[in-house]
Amino acid sequence: MSQNGSHRKEKIGVYVCHCGSNIAGKVDVPAVVEWAASQPGVVVAREYKYMCSDPGQDLIKNDIKELGITRAVVAACSPTMHEPTFRKAAADAGLNPFLLQMANIREHCSWVTEDPVAATDKAKRILGAQIHRLPFNEPLDSIAVDVNPDVLVVGGGIAGIEAALKLAEAGKHVYMVERNPSIGGHMAMFDKTFPTLDCAACILTPKMSALGKHPNITLMAYSEVTKVDGYVGNFTVRVKKKARYVNTDSCTGCGACQEACVVRKVKSEFDQGLGYRSAIYIPFPQAVPLRATIDPEKCLMLSRGKCKQQSCVEACGPQAIDFGQKDEEIELPVGAIIVATGFELFDCKNESTYGYGRLDNVITSLEFERLSNASGPTGGRIVMKNGEAPKSVAILHCVGSRSENHQEFCSRVCCMYSLKFAHLIKEHLPETEIYELYIDMRANGKGYEEFYKRLMNEGVNFIRGRAAEVTELAITHEEEGKLIVKAEDTLLGVVRRLPVDMVILSAGLSPQHDAKEVSQIFGFGCSASGFYLERHPKLEPVSTVTDGIFICGACQFPKDIPDTVAQAGAAAAGALTLVNNATVKVEPTISYIDPEKCSGCHICVGLCPHAAIRFNEEKGVAEVIEAACKGCGVCVAACGSGVPQQRGYLDAQIFAEIEGALAV
C-alpha cells in the first residue's frame, strides 16, 4: 500500500518543545527541527523552550493566521497532558482542532531513552509518523449531547456526605448509594479527632442528619452499584437495593425489635467486634437512615426457616418486618458520578509478629477508637479483656505501612491518631505509662506539629524504632503476665524489651478489598498501591479517565478528614461544572458504519462493550449510536469486511503513521 500523502497539498507546521531540559536535555532539538523542515508538506518548523506557554501557543496561532498552515504537529509531551491545550489554540486561530496532532517525545522518548543519539533518532520517527499522518486527517466536529443534571454519589462516609450536601445545596438532585445499613463511614466510629480533639460524632452526625432530610437527596443505604452504562452527562446506573427484610417506610427506628430479638450475641461491625448486636439491628443510635435491618445469616427465621418466638414481629408496632422481602434492582439516570468508597483498615493478622488475633490485649486502632468512645461497648472505659484498666500501653506505628512486606506507602494519618490515642489514654488514665514506637514522626498538617509537642509535654515516652515483635514470652519476673514489645531504640542504639498491659496497633489504611472490581464497574483503574487512579496526580486529583466520574476521599489515597473534606468539595465542584451545563461536548473520534457496505452480520452489535451499536431491522444494517460510542475500536477490528471505521483513526491514517515512523 502506497499512501505517502503527497497527492494532498497540505501546508504543515511543526512545533518542537524543549520542555525546559526535559526534552532538550536528551534530544537534539535543533537537529530535529532542521530535519522536520525538510519533510514533505512541512512549510515551517520551529522550536521553543515551553511550547505550552502563551508565547509558545502564539507561534502556532500566528502561523495559522499568517502562513496559512492547514495542519500542525506539536512534538512535546503526552497528549493526555497538553493535547487539549494545543487543539484549543488551533481552534482559536480558526483551524479545526482535529487537524493538529501531538508527537509524544517526552514520556515516550526523552524520559525513557538513555542515549542522546538514539533519543534524537527516535524523536524524529515519532514526529515523522505524525507528519505523514496529517494529510489524511479530516476536520471533525465535537458532538454536543444533553446533560442529565442529577448526580450519583457512591459511598456515605464523610467524603460522600460532604460532596452530596454541596451538590444538593447547589440545587442538584443527588442519589446517595451506601453499601452499609447506615451512612457515616469510618468517621462515625471515631472518638475524638486530631489535633483539635473535637468529638467526631458531634461534627459528623449533624451532616448525616442534614443529608437524610435534604429534599434534594435520595438516600439509598444498604445498596450497591452493580453496573454503569452510558457516558458523560448520560449515565445509566444499576443499583441493587439489598433486602433489609424491614419495610423502611413504616419502620420508625424505635429499636424495639433489636431488644426483643432472641439472637443477641452477634459481633457488632460498628463496634469492631468488641460489642454485640442482635440479628435485627440498627448499627448505632445516630444511624441515618434510622431503620432496622435483619442480618439474613444470623436471623433464625431467614437462615433456618424457623424462629419459635418471632419476638421481633411481635415487638414491632408498625408491623414493618417482612421476611419475604427480596433484593431489588433499580436504574438511575444521572449526568455525573462521584465515587467516595473509602478505605479498609490494614488487616493486622497479616503482621503475624505482633500477635493480633492470638494475643489478648493486642488491639487495632479502630478497636481502640470504640473502646475510648463514650458511646462504645465499654461506655468509654479503656480496659483490657479482663475488665481492668491497663497500667502501661504501647502504641505501635506503621503496622502494615512503610513495609517491604505489606504496603510500601505511608498511610499519612497513623502518626497523628497515635498521638491522639496517647492523649486520650492520659485523659482517662493519668497514671498509665505510654510508649509510642515510631519510625519517623510525621506531623505535617495545620496544628499537627504543635500537637506532637504537646504530647511530649504530657509525659508520653517516644521511642524511635519500629517494633520487631510482640510476645508473651517473659524472661524476667516483672515481664510475667505482660505483653513484651521488642524493639530497637535507634536513638539509644539498644534493643529494648517493654513489658506492657496493652498494645495498640496503629494499622495503615488499605484499599477496599474489592476496590479493583468496583473501579472496573466505573471504568477507571487503580494505582500500584491499589487505590483508585486519578486522572492527573497534581492537576486533576479528583477526576478519572472516565469523563463525568470523579473520586474523592480515602478511596483515592489515605488522607485525614480535612483533606478528605477538601477533596469532596473539589469533586462536587467538578460534577457541578459538568451538570450545570445543558449540553456537553463529547469527542468525535468515534466509529461510523457505512450502510452501503454493511452486510448486517450482527458481529459488531454483540461485541460493542458500550451497547453503542444497534441493528436497524428495516435497513438490515448496523448503526452506531453516536452519543454512546466511546471510540474503543472493537467494532473496527472485529468486522470481517472492515466496514466500521473510527474517525481520527482511519486505516489510511494509521498506515501513514507506520510509514512515517519507518521512513527516517
Partner: protein, 290 residues
C-alpha cells in the same frame, strides 16, 4: 510422587535418625526419594562468609546433579541446606555475572546447571504435595493426648520459604493435629536455637535454648519436634548445660517431626532410629496405642 533427595552432611553424623525416619515415612506415604549420587556439602552458612563464590560453586554442584537426574523437585530435610540451596538458585537468577562464574566453575568440573531445579523442604512436600488428608488416611496409631511443641527453627519459613507464614508458621501445628496429637501454643516456634554459635559464643546459644526449653516446659509440652538437624541437636543435647547455667531441670524429649509422624503411621521406634535419642522418649512411646 518422585523427588530427588539431598540428605545433607548431618544425615551421616549427628542426624542419622532424621535420614532414617525420613526414608521410612516417605516410603509409607508413597513418596519416592532418589538420593543424589555423589552429593557434597551444601556450602552451609559459615563457608559463605569466607569464600562466597566457592560456596555457591559447591552448592550448585548438588543442584547440577539434581538437574542430571531429570525433571524432579529436589527435597531436603535440613533447614540450612534448604536455605542455602534455594539461595544459590535465587542469586543465580538475580545476578547474571555470578551465574556465569558458577556455570563456568561447574563446566570445568564437567557439570552444568541452568538454575531451574526447584528446591523444597520435606515439610512443604508432605503438607502440600501429599496433603494433610492423605497423611491422616494413613495414620494407624493416633497419638491422642500427646502435647507437642512444634519447633520450626528460624530458617524453615524464611528467608526463602514461602509455603508458610514467615513469622508464625502453622504447617507443623496442623501436621501434629493430623496425627491425633495436640500442638501446644509455642510462640517461639520460629526463633533461633543458637545455631553454630554453640561453638563460638556458647553463653548466647545457651540463652536461646533456655528460652525454647522454658516455653515448652511452661506450656507442659511432652515433646518438642524439629525440622532441622542443628535445632534438634542444640535443643536436645545441650539440656544439661542449660540446666547448669540456669539452675533448671529440663529433661524434655526432642525429636524430628518425621519420627513423630512415623510413630503415628505405625512404624516401629527402631525403624525410626528412636534409640539414638539423648533424652529418652518413653513418654512419647507410651502415647502410641498398642
Amino acid at each position: 510422587m518422585k523427588y530427588s533427595y539431598y540428605p545433607g552432611c548431618s544425615a551421616e553424623a549427628t542426624a542419622v535418625a532424621y535420614d532414617v525416619s525420613t526414608r521410612a515415612v516417605c516410603d509409607r506415604l508413597g513418596v519416592e526419594l532418589v538420593e543424589l549420587p555423589d552429593w557434597n556439602c551444601c556450602g552451609s552458612t559459615s563457608y559463605f562468609s569466607v569464600r562466597e563464590l566457592r560456596s555457591f560453586g559447591i552448592s550448585a554442584r548438588n543442584l547440577a546433579i539434581a538437574q542430571e537426574l531429570g525433571d524432579m523437585d529436589l527435597v531436603t530435610t535440613c533447614n540450612s541446606c534448604y536455605t542455602v540451596l534455594a539461595k544459590t538458585n535465587r542469586y543465580m537468577a538475580d545476578n547474571a555475572e555470578l551465574k556465569a562464574d558458577i556455570v563456568e566453575a561447574l563446566n570445568r568440573a564437567g557439570r552444568h546447571y541452568d538454575g531451574n531445579v526447584n528446591v523444597r523442604h520435606l515439610v512443604d512436600v508432605l503438607v502440600n504435595d501429599v496433603g494433610y488428608d492423605a497423611v491422616k488416611a494413613k495414620v494407624t496409631k493416633p497419638l491422642a493426648g500427646l502435647k507437642v511443641a512444634p519447633y520450626y527453627g528460624c530458617q524453615l519459613s524464611r528467608p526463602i520459604g514461602t509455603f508458610d507464614d514467615p513469622e508464625f508458621p502453622m504447617t507443623l501445628d496442623r501436621l501434629v493435629e493430623t496425627v491425633g496429637a495436640t500442638p501446644v501454643d509455642y510462640p517461639c516456634k520460629s526463633k533461633c536455637c543458637g545455631g553454630m554459635m554453640m561453638l563460638t559464643k556458647e553463653e548466647a546459644a545457651l540463652r536461646l535454648c533456655f528460652e525454647l526449653l522454658k516455653t515448652a516446659s511452661d506450656r507442659e509440652a511432652d515433646v518438642i519436634i524439629t525440622a532441622c538437624p542443628l535445632c534438634e541437636m542444640n535443643v536436645e543435647a545441650y539440656q544439661p548445660m542449660v540446666n547448669k547455667q540456669y539452675g533448671t531441670h529440663f529433661r524434655i524429649p526432642v525429636m524430628y517431626f518425621t519420627q513423630l509422624l512415623g510413630l503415628a503411621l505405625g512404624i516401629s521406634a527402631k525403624d525410626l532410629a528412636l534409640d539414638k535419642q539423648v533424652v529418652p522418649v518413653d513418654k512419647v512411646l507410651s502415647a502410641v496405642p498398642a
